[in-house]
Point group: C2
Chain length 276, copies 2
């Protein structure tokens, strides 16, 4: 999906919500367990209940991989029921050299037809570039993550005289590898203090923002500080939506939670995107 299509969808749905599909077989509502593929059935109902309120779905690949071969089948079936206009993110955090990254790119972009994949930056250019295969297929690079461990290395100060942080160098260097039409960045909602520094370096790029809700990030703050004139944000929520209820009403409750976020997002879009 190209950038313009993503923005069109944001305008149409008045939403920049991404729903995380971190579907844990141990957390499924009991009444689904009789299904042939309970993980897929759960995802299918979540998607049906939320697809008009969100612009992206983000399965965390670990949850599927941990199930062995049948997990991959659930994942492939899930992708097939996501409406075509919705952006898809393989949250895989891959990163390996040349030919290995090419294999991952083929697996996620071709075999499974994801629009994007999350990639770790530590190994540098030749671990990221193989994913930049064509317009409409995106790399979402880890820049400043939402977890406590982000403090260990990402905000180390570099000896360049400008008090620059490691994540800033990651943004600077990597933004020369691709345009804002092929690259996005992960920037946690818990990192509001740094968002202005992020936007100073990558004003145009979309940011994928985890950490709203359970992890304590504020949707208002990240929207105010992080939005650009093409919205430029995909804000993810997982647990608050997909595990809103563990009963028979799980899909209905998921929709209610997604709707709350969409309505708040509609407000910020009107407030911060000028030509709306």
């Amino acid at each position: 999906m190209i950038r313009e299509q993503l923005f069109e969808q944001i305008l149409k749905k008045k939403s920049y919500l991404c729903v995380g599909l971190d579907t844990d077989p141990k957390k499924l509502p009991e009444h689904l367990l009789d299904n042939e593929d309970p993980v897929f059935e759960f995802n299918r109902q979540i998607i049906e209940a939320t697809a008009d309120l969100c612009v992206a779905y983000k399965p965390n690949i670990a949850f599927y991989e941990a199930q062995g071969p049948k997990g991959w089948v659930s994942l492939e079936k899930t992708l097939q029921v996501i409406p075509e206009e919705v952006f898809t993110i393989a949250d895989a955090k891959r990163g390996d050299i040349g030919n290995t990254s090419e294999l991952y790119a083929r697996a996620f972009f071709e075999t499974m037809n994801f629009d994007s994949i999350t990639v770790a930056p530590y190994m540098g250019a030749d671990s990221v570039k193989p994913f930049l295969v064509q317009d409409g297929k995106w790399v979402i690079l880890l820049a400043l993550t939402s977890n406590p461990g982000s403090q260990d290395f990402q905000v180390l100060t570099l000896a360049d005289g400008n008090e620059e942080y490691l994540f800033e160098q990651v943004l600077k260097t990597s933004s020369t590898w691709a345009t804002a039409g092929q690259m996005m960045y992960v920037v946690g909602a818990t990192q509001a203090d740094y968002v202005e520094r992020v936007r100073a370096l990558v004003p145009e790029h979309f940011l994928l923002v985890p950490g709203v809700g359970a992890q304590g990030g504020s949707l208002e703050e990240i929207s105010r500080l992080g939005m650009n004139q093409q919205c430029g944000l995909l804000v993810n929520s997982t647990r608050g939506i997909i595990y809103a209820s563990s009963g028979r009403d799980f899909a209905k409750k998921a929709r209610e939670e997604a709707l709350k976020l969409q309505q708040e997002m509609e407000k910020y879009l009107e407030q911060y995107v000028q030509h709306l």
Copy 2:
């Protein structure tokens, strides 16, 4: 496998060779293609031909994952034919937060019974610690990789007044998370200039060393600079061994190449490990 068992095996085989099982279905000898599972059959014959000459096998997970569900089956079957005394490395370069890393740990350590997994450091402590589940299960953390892109971020100088590199901070910080009995580091053979700095920070830890052979690293140099009194090295070779021949004699040729490396390693062990 605990550290002492690994060292015993090194002494017994007079080898610190790790054979990379990056088995590409497109590079298999033609006569194997009739097999029900050609990837597994290739691995099985490579293992049979080299298991007395090497102390570790390292399948790069991407090659299996790219095949979809049947790739995982080939991988699981491969693990079952690796002799129990040989160390196994899931070269997966994972790294994600808390519960997701736990899922990966379960998949690789329990479901597949690998001894170790390679992990990327960018997300910090809470992305690595979930893999440190018990003695004998290892994290092999990316520190200084062998690819050109390692220059992009890993050797950035930090503003701490000591002209310290990012990879040094990664070593310092992460070595407080676990002992040398649960953590190893990836240090490329192409990085000989930095090996003394690595050893100054982590004298005891095993280093997993890719980059000998095709990538241009010298076995003599990395052995001289990197060995400690428990050997402390696992040196990987992949293409030079498993693709030594593309004909019917592929396993025989693989053994010949592995033997050459083992014989060279025997010499360095005698030279640099004092109590041998």
